[in-house]
Assembly symmetry: C2
Homo-oligomer: 765 residues x 2
């Protein structure tokens, strides 16, 4: 049996046949989620065979357990606990028995096995014909989706068509049967990019008082509660289901050509902390299940498809001239959209909800890679994501104190609950650029949406506290003519660590100072009540404001005069250049094959660092400077990080190197579908997916936010005839159609506004 | 009950009374060892009461178990396993029962409790009167020593004098009763300086076929074998001992005024790897026990005292003018001497064999702090210590390969078996100065002893392989006019880490290159057969030799022209100065109260770094330069490391700042007796003890090895009238007596030689 993932229309990702080698990757590709729950594209027969069941996981965003981080040698201020999003009961699991055989891909014979992810509809379908060991046949079709209308809901529709009469047919659903929760090799467990857990990390209890099959679960150490329930309905009302040991089963005798349909609704409540609320929450979930059940699978599916249509209406990007790329691009937008938390309390993890990689942690990936997509196509979700940072601001303040900075806040490098969860501080806590990343996102959000209330409240507080931290961490260095320096940090490029004056970090801090100062001044000038309230609460001091301005003004930005190159940090050019060309292919990514001290000792980049800084602030550098830096840093970059290529691609667009931009973009857009990083099995590369959107809009579309205006400098790769996307900007919806010779800007919704196309102002009405 | 540790003669350390607060410290102070076995000064009643039994440990040098190091996040090349010297059966343990009471300090009443460590004799005595709960009294006297003549042997002599008639008196000895093997609080377990283990980490089995009570033990993971045995003899031959459950016991009825004496010999075999050798080893240990038993406790003690006399004859330092200091100084020499491995396969751990701190690991402490004492007073032991490094050279080669350096060897920062055991590489593997430290010790050993054979064989190989590693790690930096640089290293001062061009490291590497080049050239010039053999085996290449010379010549040594100060590393002066004065006292040592990134961001030193470099190569700097650097670095040093003060003291002597030298010396010499670092409980600070000897000889004596000659520049603190020490140098024994006005050099043994006293040559005959 072999499988092929094809993209046979502009909307559908197809797997034909089955292949144990790609099944883990495809579990990721076919993952479905809605920001609350996520479920990997695993087979319904689950762990029936080792060969085809690799890493099932159904996850609830931020439903995590903790355990102490073990250090060979402890030091003060180290992150104390792992936070690990853990698999919850696998509701989509279903056992099908025909006579004496339980169905799986190695029992009897399965033909015409096909799975399709319909991106347009947000629907995963599976179909096949099974011939059991006695030669009895059964046609099977299964539909699955995760609802946006009911965030608690995973819906499944199983259609069985027997081809023989008189066989015993049985289906069994069992929420609490959790024999396997992941399956990683020892080698993989050493990979810092994977952190999976084999053990079941919650206690579960059937709630007997409820009609539906409800289960209460509670994590072992964090004591987070969740209710999981299911409601199943067989098409033939004459067949009574049977309950035993928590399993629901249906038995019937086959009639050739008959269609047996089982509709399953599996629901995961929201997370709660209080044991006393179990009954309330169970009641609420019952209500949802009953309501959804009344609508029925078909009705729910229609609502779901309508929701998806709305999404695509706002967020689609059309490419004319490359169908394979078109579906690949949509695949990325689909996964981006479905992974983001939507309640202002949860964020979007590095793998979305598509796998257990990175333990479900939130990183800078959100602000710097994923947020732009939401900001310009789904600004409400963007606000929810930023609001999450506000909810953990108090933890960030605590962290700053632990780091002996008396004032301000330092956001955790990786976290769910706001506390630092990175066990390796040189590539964790040392990445203090996270503060500047979040500040930049806040600033951009306020500018792009015009959401002044957020700016004057949550935004203001975040900007001030992040700036304060930088002021406390750095100092004016007399040995550098009083320049403001930030020592002992790690930039985005984790192939150097604990350096002085990382260019990216310093530039982000400089802007953080500026954003904070501007926002405080805006409050003072406008006498905004909300803003004044915040300043009163968190303190304000004119000297502090002046200090930020001075620090921004005197920020040290390392530059090599001789080579006329921007320096990644103070010492980067004092290191030897890594011989990338002669490094054996199997030794990439370097981090898995060389000691940190080996890697740190060379000029070699895991990802864009200086180039990312220049991409974010393109107008602060001449084209010549950007081109020189680009060439240099590209030559020392391995792209071992999935966050690298999109940035190099966009900067290539900026520099007019369209062939290069195209090549990087293809790698970016198809990264997960082609398993470019060889670890798609652990979950999608959500940041890179955001990078895909940015590559289209900011790269080829050349879109930038300059002061209060959108600027465009569109440039298409040579094989594309037309690209169309939409952006939301300050309550307007703008459609941009770029073709070879012309770009058309249409104001679909909202008040007239002025944009800039290259050097020309355009008035959109 | 209270205890006071007094130094009531020039040779004796006394504890009067008992005090639970100081008992752990005194367990360390009263530890006895001989380089093979070590036993803490714990009470014979062992874990009878929580209050007075804190951290008994009997240790065998290099008898260790391993377990995987747990990392929150793994990376390539990390140290894989802890190596932990583990407590072996506590042979000195003895239970004394009088009627119904088992003796301990909280049962009944103990009076006149006194312990004395006689440094001259190497003997620990304990005496007290015990009144049991029924009012029956017993005088108890216990002597204990660890033999140099029989390295396997711990000898104990228990004398009981009942003051009542007709009571039941019982004594019980039980080697295998290991209820408690350490007792640390959770807080302590977080202290990187302590790594203790509560669990028993070996399997034990009685060897029934042997006369004596023999026990075979085998570590759980390293499978190291050891035979432990005892032979006990009661003075009254009419009392038969009784064996049960592995315990030997004696029962008798007291007669007032009678003296009951129990002589106990406890033996620990050498470590072996082969299970097949158990019987041989057991037989050998039986022979030793029988032989020793025939001599008897008194005879063994006499031999032991004679050995100690020989030791003191060669190694004592006499101070006239300060008795308390005199005993403190001898205390240090005593502990130094007793801790060193003497078989060329084992070394001397940072705590000697006096406690479980630092897991019994060997560090650079040996070469840079402890070795000089042995080199000039016990050169045979010095050779054994260096030979240990030769035995782990192959592991060091492997480590260099792991660190992606193709040629040469990198010694482990902390180890027993040669493999790196430091779980925190920034203050572990990054300390590549260990190579230069060992090379410096080899070079000095050969120069000071004239042991050319070692130089042409083991020495040559070590020098070449260490130099090769530096050549591979560093490079000629075009940005620094082709200077040779060593990036991403950590110097001795662990309050900065992963820096470029640490001054100390670069200077040691420079000399390592020179030593290697000189030694290779000496081989080539002399056509020494041994040397040529080594070069043939490990390869030799003229270009390599030239490269070392060039690297030495062009070694980058950071210097600040403006301030005219030597720079600890490239970026040290770009950091803010830590406000030591206003740091709360309870926040020292800083490493326990601040995150590494906080500490690294400031100019603050844990210990001498640049000053140590200048102490080692005093003639390479002007007095003015040394004075400037001294003042500066002293002002930023916390002395949180016990390795710091002795160096600052010696350099003060060099600079003629005698009051400062005296003050540092007093802290150095009395560090453990006064518990200056608050962690003497975990074991003595052996390196500091070496620093004490160096302070006397190199500091106040001003002794240096310059080319092939000893130079002296004696300078005494004002209160001392006379200091006398002896040094061995190239088969001579020289006595140096320094008084206020005069220094007398006497050649006690050996051929005439020329030394230098200040600028004057002296011919000793």
């Amino acid at each position: 049996m072999s499988a092929k993932t094809t993209k046979d229309s502009k909307w559908i990702v197809t797997e034909e046949g089955t292949d144990a080698k790609t099944i883990r990757q495809n579990e990721t590709l076919f993952a479905l989620s809605n920001g609350h729950i996520g479920t990997r594209g695993s087979l319904e027969e689950a762990e029936r065979t080792k060969e085809y069941s690799h890493s099932e996981a159904t996850l609830v965003n931020a439903y995590y357990d903790s355990e102490p981080i073990q250090y060979g040698e402890w030091a003060y201020g180290y992150a104390k606990e792992h936070q690990t999003v853990i698999p919850v009961p696998n509701g989509k699991k279903l056992a099908i028995r025909l006579e004496n055989d339980l169905f799986d891909l190695t029992t009897g014979k399965t033909t015409n096995h096909k799975r399709q992810l319909d991106l347009k509809k947000g629907l995963l379908t599976r179909s096949f014909t099974w011939e059991n060991t006695q030669g009895h046949k059964l046609d099977v079709k299964i539909e699955r989706f995760v609802s946006y209308d009911y965030p608690e809901l995973l819906a499944q529709n199983i259609t069985l068509t027997p081809q023989d009469d008189g066989c015993d047919l049985q289906m069994v659903a069992n929420l609490d049967d959790l024999k396997e929760l992941g399956n990683i090799t020892e080698e993989e467990s050493n990979d810092p990019r994977i952190k999976a857990h084999k053990e079941r990390r919650f206690q579960s209890k059937r709630l007997e008082d409820f009609d539906n099959q409800l289960l209460h679960i509670e994590t072992n150490n964090t004591h987070l509660h969740l209710i999981v329930g299911e409601k199943n309905q067989l098409s033939d009302p004459s067949v009574q289901s049977h309950f035993e040991d928590g399993a629901e089963s249906w038995k019937l005798e086959t009639k050739k050509g008959d269609t047996i349909q089982l509709e399953r609704l599996i629901a995961y409540s929201n997370i709660f902390h209080e044991e006393s609320k179990i009954e309330d929450k169970a009641q609420r979930l019952t209500t949802i299940l009953n309501e959804a059940s009344a609508i029925g699978f078909k009705g729910l599916k229609e609502k779901h498809i309508a929701h998806m249509e709305e999404f695509w209406e706002l967020s689609d990007i059309e490419i004319v001239g490359d169908d394979e790329l078109q579906v690949g691009l949509r695949f990325n937008l689909f996964h981006l959209y479905q992974a983001a938390g939507r309640d202002g309390k949860r964020n979007m993890s590095a793998k979305g909800l598509s796998g257990e990689g990175y333990e479900g942690h939130y990183f800078w990936d959100t602000e710097m890679y994923m947020l732009p997509f939401f900001l310009y196509t789904q600004p409400k979700i963007a606000k929810h994501l930023l609001n999450y940072r506000y909810t953990i601001l108090e933890e960030a303040r605590n962290r700053a104190r632990e780091m002996a900075v008396d004032n301000g806040a330092l956001f955790a490098w990786r976290t769910i609950n706001g506390k630092e969860a990175s066990p390796y501080y040189p590539a964790g806590t040392a990445q203090i650029h996270i503060n500047g990343d979040i500040a930049h996102a806040v600033h951009t959000y306020v500018k792009a949406t015009g959401d002044k209330r957020f700016g004057m409240k949550e935004g203001l507080e975040i900007l001030v506290e992040t700036a304060r931290f930088y002021a406390g961490w750095g100092h004016f260095d007399e040995k550098r003519k009083g320049a403001f320096v930030l020592n002992d940090v790690t930039g985005p490029d984790e192939y150097t660590a604990i350096v002085n004056n990382n260019y990216y970090t310093n530039l982000m801090a400089k802007h953080n100072f500026k954003y904070a100062a501007e926002m405080v001044e805006a409050v003072l000038e406008s006498n905004d009540e909300d803003g004044l309230g915040v300043l009163k609460r968190i303190g304000y001091d004119k000297a502090e404001l002046e200090n930020w301005k001075k620090a921004a003004d005197k920020m040290f930005l390392p530059y090599d005069d001789e080579q006329q190159l921007t320096m990644q940090d103070d010492s980067f050019f004092h290191k030897e250049v890594w011989d990338i060309e002669n490094t054996p292919k199997e030794n990439f990514p370097l981090l898995l094959h060389y000691h940190p001290l080996t890697i740190y000792r060379y000029q070699v980049n895991k990802q864009a660092d200086t180039v990312l800084a220049q991409f974010l602030f393109p107008d602060e550098f001449s084209q010549e400077q950007k081109a020189r830096d680009y060439d240099y840093y590209e030559s020392v970059t391995t792209h071992d990080s999935s966050l690298s290529r999109s940035v190099f691609g966009m900067m290539a667009s900026d520099l007019g190197q369209m062939e290069k931009a195209y090549n990087y973009f293809m790698d970016t857009a198809l990264m997960d579908i082609t398993d470019l990083q060889s670890n798609t099995r652990d979950g999608v590369h959500a940041a890179n997916m955001g990078g895909t959107w940015m590559s289209m809009v900011n790269g080829f579309g050349g879109m930038r936010l300059v002061e209060d205006r959108l600027h465009f400098r569109p440039r298409l790769p040579k094989d594309w005839t037309c690209v169309t996307f939409k952006v939301q900007f300050r309550h307007r919806l703008i459609k941009v159609s770029i073709s070879k010779d012309d770009t058309e800007y249409t104001l679909i919704k909202g008040e007239p506004l002025v944009i800039r196309h290259f050097d020309e102002e355009k008035h959109l009405k």
